[in-house]
């Protein structure tokens, strides 16, 4: 294979400065909202003692997922021998590192005491998925970074070793993230052994979606040549990942709904949960999964770059919806303290809780996107992340 020439982007155009200024402005919402949370307390958010986890946790697991997906895509050439994807290995692994950092920021700044950020490094609880994930996330971040260095040094042997390690840890990272929820045995909508694999599947589909979007826009904006075959190939891949996500969601819900003790939980999510039911069927299943899968797996729309790009945006939004639906509805359902009894109390026992995203949480969430966009724009300006051109080679006769 011909040597790929990577170059920095020039970064002197009005468009680039506008992108950087815009993303910096958006990114500034994150420290502002985090400071409000820290100084005021969580009463300024939609989070309560009934719904203690809100949008920051949704964003954290979303970003961590997209990161793991990007990393696996980056390793396709180095680890899995799909050499045609080599041109994107650097940019994908850089995004993986940026996204995991953003995901960790989302978790830590949502703590009641983010000033105690070093405490988890000194006190472990081996039974806590959070404690184990702290180790996994940091190892993943470090290996992802070293892998990027190996890619830059064109050290194929180490790129392979570190890439493989990173993939293994990425699987661990995402299984662990799913297990945070899956292990919570008292809440019917959390407790499931399928959450870890389901997290990995959605990580792959959303990671591919992000890659499609990032490559298409960056190559266009910087006047680099990108073979349409790449976008089509990634589109197909995304479609297959989405089918896996759909299958896992189907099995999980059917299994849960079969047991009479879960009728209330299942019917809440699937039938009469108001906005949550709407988000599930229309937002997640329709717009987020079936829609994009149909687009990319249909031969006419699946070969059109515009359609694939639209499908990627839908999928990226769909997985954010999926993360929201994993985190929130399980907390809305009341805990069954006395099965068979109706209970009430001043602590809202026995009642469905309510949650809506507050202004501060919107700022926090949107700010995280700004941080990712700014870091990406900076990285492609500072280091040669992108190939001058990405042209698919003819398969050898």
């Amino acid at each position: 294979m011909a040597k790929i020439k990577y170059t920095r982007i020039e970064g002197r155009s009005g468009g680039y400065y506008a992108f950087m200024a815009g993303s910096a402005l958006v990114a500034s919402l994150l420290p502002i909202s985090a400071l409000i949370l820290f100084l005021q307390g969580h009463h300024v958010t939609g989070m309560t003692n009934q719904v203690p986890w809100g949008m920051p946790i949704v964003m954290a697991i979303y970003l961590i997922g997209v990161s793991a997906g990007s990393l696996v895509l980056s390793s396709m050439s180095t680890v899995f021998g799909k050499t045609e994807y080599k041109p994107f290995a650097r940019v994908a692994s850089m995004l993986a590192v940026v996204l995991i950092v953003a995901g960790l920021m989302a978790i830590i700044m949502d703590w009641g005491r983010p000033d105690r950020v070093l405490v988890p490094f000194f006190h472990f609880q081996p039974r806590s998925m959070f404690s184990l994930n702290a180790i996994l996330y940091n190892a993943y971040m470090l290996i992802g970074f070293l892998y990027l260095v190996a890619l830059f040094r064109e050290n194929e042997v180490w790129a392979k070793r570190l890439g493989l390690s990173a993939v293994i840890i990425a699987v661990g990272v995402h299984s662990g993230t799913g297990a945070i929820f899956g292990f919570v045995y008292v809440r019917e909508l959390y407790n499931s052994p399928l959450l870890p694999p389901s997290f990995i599947a959605a990580a792959l589909s959303s990671g591919t979606a992000l890659m499609i979007i990032v490559l298409k826009y960056t190559f266009d904006a910087t006047g680099r040549k990108l073979d349409v075959g790449y976008i089509q190939g990634l589109g197909k891949l995304m479609g297959i990942f989405i089918l896996v996500v759909l299958y896992l969601i189907f099995i999980e819900n059917v299994t849960r709904s079969y047991a009479p003790k879960n009728y209330e939980a299942s019917s809440f999510l699937l039938l009469h949960g108001g906005k949550f039911t709407f988000y599930f069927w229309v937002g997640l299943i329709g717009v987020g999964l079936v829609g994009p899968a149909a687009i990319v797996l249909n031969s006419a729309t699946g070969s059109s770059v515009r359609w694939i790009l639209a499908a990627a945006w839908l999928q990226l939004a769909g997985v954010l919806m999926e993360r929201y639906l994993i985190v929130i509805p399980a907390q809305i359902l009341p805990l069954e303290l006395l099965p068979g009894m109706e209970i009430t109390s001043v602590f809202l026992d026995g009642q469905f809780a309510t949650y809506s995203v507050s202004a501060v949480e919107w700022m926090y969430s949107i700010g995280l996107f700004g941080v990712v966009a700014f870091a990406y724009g900076l990285a492609i300006r500072l280091w040669p992340m992108l190939p001058e051109e990405a042209v698919m080679q003819e398969p050898p006769a």
Binding site: N49, W53, I107
Partner: protein, 243 residues
């Protein structure tokens, strides 16, 4: 040293397996008992003796532990609350009540999920939160089956008349019933139990459940006391009669 992809796979698999062994191994070692001394503080509460309009236990707890009121049911902190219950689907069924607090489980999910071990089990079975270590991640609030935990979402100013014997509070950490450990350590009963016995019907009985000569142990031997959600296996230290 020759180090090929296969070796790497092996090492990677070993590391992953090792990480997976963590929770399993620690769960296995903790199956027996998470507290250790011969004592096991606990309660037996008789719902038949608990009158619906009585809140002396709740009031005593608020006074003893300086539990503030925000007058917002979503943010309010509850160390102990009265729960009203009646059978589902039976028209005109009588509503009865019982107080619920932290049950100081033998296998506390809150302590299991705490990433920094800020929640821990004292040797005498009392589940405590180290407020100076808690990072405020709220995983314990998610995991507790009994809704015993409250996150302090708002700053609370200490006020005149606060009980100086309990630590002051700051926002950003999770707290819950301490079983009045500060009183127990001085040979007294928890404030809620004392209030119930002195000012109300004495529905709450507190003692060492491992000592067969106590009132609570005698009530347990009647065979009429049970734990809430015993099916979860957390082994709460608070038993109920008349539910």
């Amino acid at each position: 040293m020759d180090f090929d992809r296969r070796d790497f796979l092996r090492i990677g698999a070993a590391v992953t397996a090792g990480a997976a062994i963590g929770p399993v191994a620690s769960a296995m070692t903790q199956v027996e008992k998470e507290g250790s001394t011969a004592r096991r503080w606990g309660m037996v509460i008789d719902a038949d003796k608990c009158s619906a309009d009585c809140t002396v236990c709740v009031d005593a707890c608020r006074t003893e532990n300086n539990v503030p009121r925000f007058d917002d049911p979503k943010l309010d902190i509850h160390w102990i609350r009265k729960i009203a219950f009646r059978p589902k689907g039976i028209e005109g069924a009588t509503e009865r009540t019982f107080p619920a607090m932290c049950f100081h489980c033998e296998h506390p999910p809150c302590a299991h999920v705490c990433p920094v071990a800020a929640t821990f089990v004292r040797p005498d079975g009392i589940v405590q939160v180290d407020k100076h270590r808690c990072i405020g991640c709220r995983y314990c609030v998610i995991a507790c089956p009994y809704k015993a935990r409250s996150f302090v979402a708002k700053h609370v100013e200490p006020k005149e008349g606060d009980n100086p014997k309990v630590p002051s509070r700051t926002h950003g950490v999770v707290e819950k019933c301490t079983l009045c450990a500060h009183r127990i350590d001085q040979g007294m009963q928890p404030a809620c139990v004392e209030a119930c016995q002195k000012k109300a019907t004495g529905a709450m009985v507190f003692s060492d459940l491992n000592n067969p000569d106590t009132d609570a142990s005698a009530l347990l031997r009647t065979g009429r006391a049970r734990q809430l959600r015993a099916d979860l296996g957390c082994e709460p230290g608070v038993y109920y009669m008349g539910l």
